[in-house]
Symmetry: C2
Subunit: 217 residues, 2 copies
C-alpha cells in the first residue's frame, strides 16, 4: 500500500499547491484593483477584470480534480475532511477574486472620473494593503499550516473592520462635500474589501480547524 | 446489494429533505426581515436575527452528515457529485439566511426610526416578494428536480436586478431629499436582496446541472 498512499499524498500536495497559486492570483488582483481604483487607471482595471476568468477556470478545474480524487481514492476520516475543506477554500478564494473584479468594475464605470474622492484615498489605500497582506498570509498558511499565522489573520481582519468604520465616519461627516453617487460607490467598495477579508479569514479558520480540531473563534 | 443501495438512497433523500427545510427557513426569514424593515418593527427584526442561529446549526449538522455519508458509502460518479452539490447548496442557503439577518440588523440599528424612506417602500416590498418567490421555488426545485422551474428562477432574478436598478435611480434623483446615511442603508439593503437572489439562482443552476449535465447559462 505504500506507493498508493504516497500517490494519494502527491495528489493532496497538488491540491494544496493549486490553492496557494489561487491565493497568489487573488492577492495580485486586489493589489492591482486597488491601484487602478486610486489612480483611475482604466487599462489596469480592465486587466483585473480579464484576469478573473483565469481564477474561475482554475477553481473549476481544481474542484473537478478534488471530486475525482475522492471518487478514485475513497479517502475517509481526516483525508476526506482535508479534501472537502479544500473545496471550500477554493470557493472562498474564487469569491475573493470576484471582489477584486467588482472593485475594478467600479473604476471602469467612473472612468475617466475617479470613484474615490481625495479625502478617502489614504483609507482605501490602507484597505488595499491590509487585503493584500491577508491573502499573502493565507497563501503561506495553506502551505505551512502554521496556526499562529492563522490567528494573526483575525487581527488583520479587525484592522480591516476599523478602516471600514473610518470610511463610514468620513461619509457621514455633515461636511461631506460629495454627492450620493460617490457615497453609493464608497459603500459598495467598502463592502467588497470587507468581504475579501472575511473570505480570507474563513480560509485561515479552516486551516486552523484542520490542524487543531478546534474552532479559532 | 439492493438493501445497501436503498439505505444510501434513504440517506440522500434525507439530505434533500433537510435542504428543502433550509430553503423554507430562509424564505420565512426574508419575508419577516422585509416586513420588519418596512414597518420598523424591532421585535420582528430581533426574531429574524435569533432565528439565523438555527439555520447555521442545521447547515453545520447537514454538512457533517454529508461528509459522513461520503466516508461510509464511498459513492462514485453521480452519487458523489450529488452529495458534493448538496454541500454547495447548503452553503448557498446558509448565506441567504445571512442576508435576511443583515437586513434585520439594519432595521434594529435604525429603530425607532425607519431605514427605508416612504418613496422606496414599494420597491423594497417588491424586492422582498421576489426574494421570497425565488426561495420558495428553489425549495420546490430541490425536491422535484424540475428543470423548467429552475430556468424560471433566472427570470425572477432579472426582475430582482430591475428592482435593484430602480433603487439606484431613486437614490440618484437630484431631488433625493434624504441624506447620506439613508443612501448608505439603501445601498447595502439593495445589495443584500440582490445577493439573496444570486444564491438562490446558484442553487437552481446546480439542480439544473445535476439533472441535465449542462449549464443553464
Amino acid at each position: 500500500m505504500t506507493w498508493l498512499r504516497s500517490a494519494f499524498q502527491d495528489e493532496l500536495d497538488g491540491v494544496t499547491a493549486t490553492l496557494v497559486g489561487l491565493s497568489s492570483l487573488v492577492s495580485d488582483a486586489i493589489s492591482k484593483a486597488t491601484h487602478a481604483l486610486l489612480t483611475a487607471n482604466l487599462s489596469e482595471a480592465e486587466a483585473v477584470i480579464a484576469a478573473d476568468d483565469r481564477v474561475d477556470d482554475i477553481q473549476h478545474e481544481l474542484d473537478a480534480r478534488i471530486i475525482d480524487i475522492i471518487a478514485r481514492q475513497q479517502p475517509v476520516a481526516s483525508d476526506l475532511r482535508a479534501l472537502v475543506t479544500a473545496l471550500r477554500m477554493s470557493a472562498d478564494l474564487e469569491r475573493m477574486g470576484d471582489m477584486a473584479h467588482h472593485i475594478a468594475k467600479i473604476t471602469r464605470l467612473r472612468h475617466p472620473g475617479a470613484a474615490v474622492p481625495s479625502e478617502l484615498l489614504l483609507t482605501i489605500e490602507e484597505m488595499g494593503k491590509v487585503a493584500r497582506t491577508i491573502s499573502d498570509k493565507v497563501g503561506g498558511i495553506i502551505n505551512s499550516r502554521d496556526i499562529d499565522k492563522a490567528l494573526e489573520v483575525e487581527r488583520d481582519d479587525d484592522e480591516m473592520d476599523k478602516l471600514h468604520r473610518k470610511l463610514f465616519t468620513t461619509l457621514l461627516d455633515p461636511k461631506w462635500p460629495h454627492g450620493i453617487e460617490t457615497a453609493i460607490d464608497i459603500t459598495l467598495i467598502g463592502r467588497y474589501y470587507e468581504r475579501y477579508a472575511d473570505h480570507a479569514v474563513s480560509v485561515a479558520r479552516r486551516v486552523y480547524f484542520q490542524v487543531t480540531g478546534k474552532f479559532s473563534k
